[in-house]
Symmetry: D2
């Protein structure tokens, strides 16, 4: 089951075109990420101040299908997935209250040592989060005969 974050589009999120300012959709996705961490019992204050691991975003992309207006109630669905020993991605779907797909986004995150900025393995805490909200692996059925 993916993590779902509810968010109302605020006046601050809009621009003079009357709809959401494009980059703010990525900020809302990051809010969903933070909420998913909290709900896996990750302490956010420690998470963003951890002297032994930092997890910067190294890539982000976003597609827009429909305009989003101030006051719109949104559902942000989030699915994380490990892609390397030190790297994971998150896929987001932004849906209207009646579950129309309004926008899609992806972020890539790499674990590094904050001082040296060397790559390090994903921490046990984050592996737990990946397991909690990640896609289930398709069950592998091994057939010995044939």
């Amino acid at each position: 089951m993916p993590f779902i974050y509810q968010r109302t589009l605020r006046f601050q999120d809009t621009d003079a075109a009357g709809v959401v300012y494009f980059a703010n959709v990525l900020s809302m996705c990051h809010e969903a990420y933070e909420a998913s961490l909290t709900s896996a019992e990750v302490d956010l204050k420690q998470f963003f101040n951890n002297p032994s691991i930092a997890i910067p975003i190294i890539h982000a992309s976003v597609d827009f299908f429909s305009p989003i207006y101030c006051g719109d109630r949104l559902l942000i669905q989030l699915v994380p997935k490990q892609i390397k020993e030190h790297k994971f991605e998150i896929r987001y779907q932004i849906l209207s209250a009646d579950e129309q797909l309004l926008s899609k986004a992806t972020t890539h995150h790499t674990c590094i040592h904050p001082g040296s900025r060397d790559k390090i393995k994903i921490s046990p805490e984050m592996l737990q989060w990946l397991q909690k909200w990640g896609e289930e692996e398709p069950t592998v059925i091994e057939s010995f005969n044939q």
Copy 2:
């Protein structure tokens, strides 16, 4: 009873000093204002696109008593009050989850015609909102003798 809005401080709200960026406290107060409108059945999309009335902020002030960190759960208390035929103010208190006062803010709002920008009376819809969330007037006890 004042309106209370719950808000978690997000990574986006912080700055390189590790705490909330000062102007973002006012943005959170505006979020509380929008939430109070919704809970008085004001339609936000119409509210911010109304061709016959606009209600710009003409003054804002904010005081900071304690740093606010990413992940902090906040309570934003809001009390509106009419101060003129065409003008109201809102007082905000930003409290920690254990009800310590972290910040205080005030905004002043004037009703105008969007085209001419002339002052106009507060609308019935907003008077209802003022009544719903506003401070009750202290009962005035008049004493005739003396």
Copy 3:
């Protein structure tokens, strides 16, 4: 020649990790886009309020190679390119003052009618902007013999 926009990273652009908040890199790219419009004599106030054409962003992506700190002086290089009758893309490179590549981004923009949201052709004004700042086509050298 690409358009180059100079920008200092501001405190507001940073987050509690001490570096630029990821989505703000896209906002700086949009600033560069606006500056490139101005320098092609597009009036921004009219551009964002044009009743006959709107040009929403339908896709954005960004890659991060190095952290960017408050006070860093940046050069944002912008190259637009028409990709369909109604669509163009912009490629951005964010460089440090000593021309190290810090980040790269791309945005896709579609011309629509603001009312119907139907696709329409890129306007003459924007074709001029595309010509002014767009990549020159590689000179095609035709060889007649073989």
Copy 4:
């Protein structure tokens, strides 16, 4: 002479009412403050990461006289003034290109030790900045005779 910072209002600074989002005026004032520090040879990266002094904003206020639109070229005038051993204020005026007063703001800043958060004296570096951009005291001409 006050410090003057030039700034174009960007699309990101606007909201669905088509004008600047109120809290963003304070952010532009903070940008002017950062630019005034740089021009007094304060290193911003060090300034915002200084382990021996932090200078949080403890109060901010802003008044709005005229709407500000995307593309508007602004002049932000800044005048700092020491008000206590550990405290200074900055007054800002936001002017249009033709020097009409659009907005006014004030911020109060207190010097503290980042660890203990105890008040400390304004640093020599900041006293120099105060002297460079601060209001000159009106020359007091004492006349003994007459």
